[in-house]
């Protein structure tokens, strides 16, 4: 109790010196919070915008025949895997549409609308028109629409590779934000696609999203093990996006290094300032020891000093860091006013940073505390 009381008084009378340590900790922790959360948000935004609105696991045929039969049981098994969020089946085939003298390749993708909405968030991507209702209705991407100059209700005449003509009615236009999809995918009813391309009841792929996108590879392996079927192959986004992943990993590592440097500088800064305090207060410590305070209690004064400045500094740092983050996010917007980075506030990370800052500050008190152990009252008294 006395050690805490003395620590508080030492800090209070330290005035500017104590304030400087607190500001130092607050700035360091705020940078840690700002950098950590920003990089984390950047990664998540990047992943979300890259693979968030697409399947993270895709099951395809591994045989010469590109379609899968008896897919209902496979869908059931995949859907039962704990980490799987949504599962959809698709019947996909290539076709062509005429644009003047050119034949444009298109991909007709047959889905149940609710399934495709779960994966591609298609409902929110519809910028004109409505979802397909009747068997012939389809959705067209923004880029293809611009090429073909068509409107809602217009007919879309496509040809199968075999030369058979198919006529669709355009019910809506979507914009998934990916040009390669927007210019080639025609989204249609599953049964219609199966019938037009003579798939029968067969499908071409099972697509799934997972709860933790970074666990997609292990979940894919788990599914492979459960299904134990040589006729199918399972792809996951991680295996297909190694460059993106290594970029993200590099970003994560640089964030870690920045945070480690910050923690190290906090410890060094606080230690050195508190070490000066030991010298400044050596007379007081000496006389306290003469009065019977034990070495451990005298050392605790400096540990408590570290703890108190840490408590105030890290708390202020968290607030400052969040203000910086929100301020940064508000000031960096795309021309349409939307934020460039979607903020993901990880409370675990904030709590961890707060705790690490506090632990580092308290730890920094150990060095001056050790120094105080060596203070001998008789030497202080002899020196006057």
């Amino acid at each position: 109790m006395l050690s805490i009381k003395i620590a508080i008084r030492f800090l209070k009378t330290g005035g500017g010196q104590s304030l400087l340590i607190i500001i130092g900790i607050a700035i360091a922790v705020s940078i840690q919070i700002f950098v950590g959360l920003l990089i984390d948000s950047l990664q998540k935004t990047l992943v979300d915008r890259t693979i968030g609105n697409s399947p993270q696991i895709t099951i395809l045929s591994a045989t010469d025949i590109s379609t899968i039969r008896d897919w209902e049981s496979l869908v059931r098994v995949v859907g039962e895997v704990d980490q799987i969020k949504t599962v959809a089946v698709s019947a996909t085939a290539n076709a062509f549409v005429e644009d003047g003298n050119l034949d444009l390749p298109i991909i007709v993708r047959g889905f149940n609308f609710d399934d495709i909405d779960d994966i591609y968030n298609i409902r929110d991507s519809l910028y004109e028109g409505d979802q397909y209702q009747s068997a012939r209705e389809v959705l067209m991407g923004k880029d293809l629409r611009e090429d073909l100059e068509v409107d809602i209700g217009d007919q879309l005449v496509a040809k199968t590779p075999e030369g058979e003509e198919i006529v669709f009615i355009i019910s809506g236009f979507y914009d998934l934000g990916v040009a390669s999809i927007n210019e080639s995918w025609i989204l249609a009813n599953l049964e219609t696609t199966q019938r037009i391309f003579n798939f029968g009841n067969r499908i071409t792929s099972i697509e799934a999203t997972v709860k933790d996108v970074f666990a997609a590879d292990t979940i894919a392996l788990e599914i492979e093990k459960i299904l134990d079927n040589d006729n199918i192959k399972i792809n996951n986004w991680k295996d297909q996006n190694e460059e993106l992943l290594s970029g993200l990993e590099g970003q994560r590592m640089s964030s870690m290094v920045i945070q480690l440097v910050i923690i190290a500088s906090v410890i060094i800064a606080i230690s050195s300032v508190l070490a000066i305090t030991v010298l400044q207060k050596s007379r007081e410590i000496g006389i306290l020891k003469a009065m019977g305070i034990k070495d451990s209690a005298a050392s605790l004064i400096f540990i408590y000093e570290g703890l108190i400045v840490g408590l105030i500094g890290t708390t202020l740092g968290v607030i400052l860091g969040l203000c910086l983050l929100y301020g940064f996010n508000a000031s960096t917007t795309s021309p349409d006013g939307a934020a460039i980075v979607d903020l993901y506030i990880e409370y675990d990370f904030i709590l961890k940073s707060w705790f690490i800052g506090l632990a580092a500050s308290t730890f920094a008190g150990i060095f001056p505390a050790r120094k105080s152990l060596k203070l001998s009252p008789v030497e202080i008294i002899r020196e006057g």
Partner: protein
């Protein structure tokens, strides 16, 4: 009268580039409740003797027995307990904590062992402030007090735990003659009222003359031991 401090064949040698012996075969006994002074010239070894009696320093040879216990058998923590409970110190410089008020400074030796000040200890602090004539300044911070008031606060602090021994080293060394007189009278009153054993190291004969026993020390040896 039983003895409270016993020194048996105490030597003290400071080791360094050149070893210096400052105390030679000191044998002394102080009776409980007695009022004593140790006088000697600067460098005679009197402060070293005082520090050894106060367990702040260790003898190179010999034994120190305080309140029946051999200090050589005690570790640092036990010695700290002994100082806190049995010995009060007053030094030439007051060494008060400038961050605290006079009252808070006085209570520190008690708070080393207790979580909070009891009603009884507050009453004792007030009594000491009254005896020492500093009641008016008990809520003042140390820096706002005069040298005499600071030294009297240091005396109150030394006495708060009702120690059996009060060791003072040149307590009036920095004070004018009027304040010195007042402090000497306070020492005498405290000695009679609380029965503490008083040992004062001084080179001021006016202070020494107020005690019942004067021990003269020269070149680390007891030159004269006079009991009035």
């Amino acid at each position: 009268m039983s003895s409270i401090i016993e020194l048996k064949s105490v030597d003290k040698i400071y080791t360094g580039t050149v070893d210096t012996q400052v105390l030679f075969d000191i044998n002394l006994t102080f009776d409980s409740g007695s009022c004593n002074s140790i006088v000697g010239e600067s460098g005679s070894g009197k402060s070293t003797l005082l520090n050894i009696m106060g367990t702040l320093d260790k003898p190179t040879k010999g034994e120190v027995i305080i309140n029946g216990a051999r200090t050589s058998d005690m570790d640092k923590n036990k010695l700290a307990d002994l100082r806190n409970e049995t010995i009060g110190f007053v030094f030439q410089f007051h060494y008060l904590l400038p961050e605290f008020t006079a009252e808070e400074n006085v209570l520190i030796p008690y708070l080393i062992k207790h979580r909070r000040a009891s009603k009884e200890i507050m009453e004792r602090a007030n009594e000491l402030f009254e005896i020492l004539g500093i009641t008016k300044w008990k809520n003042s911070t140390v820096t706002k007090m005069s040298g005499g008031q600071q030294q009297r606060t240091a005396i109150a602090r030394a006495l708060i735990n009702n120690p059996k021994i009060l060791i003072t080293d040149e307590p009036t060394g920095n004070l004018d003659s009027e304040t010195t007189k007042k402090i000497c009278n306070s020492f005498r009153e405290i000695n009679q009222r609380f029965g503490s054993t008083f040992i004062v190291v001084t080179h001021d004969l006016r202070v020494a003359e107020k005690t019942d026993r004067i021990i003269e020390i020269r070149d680390g040896k007891i030159e004269k031991d006079t009991v009035k």
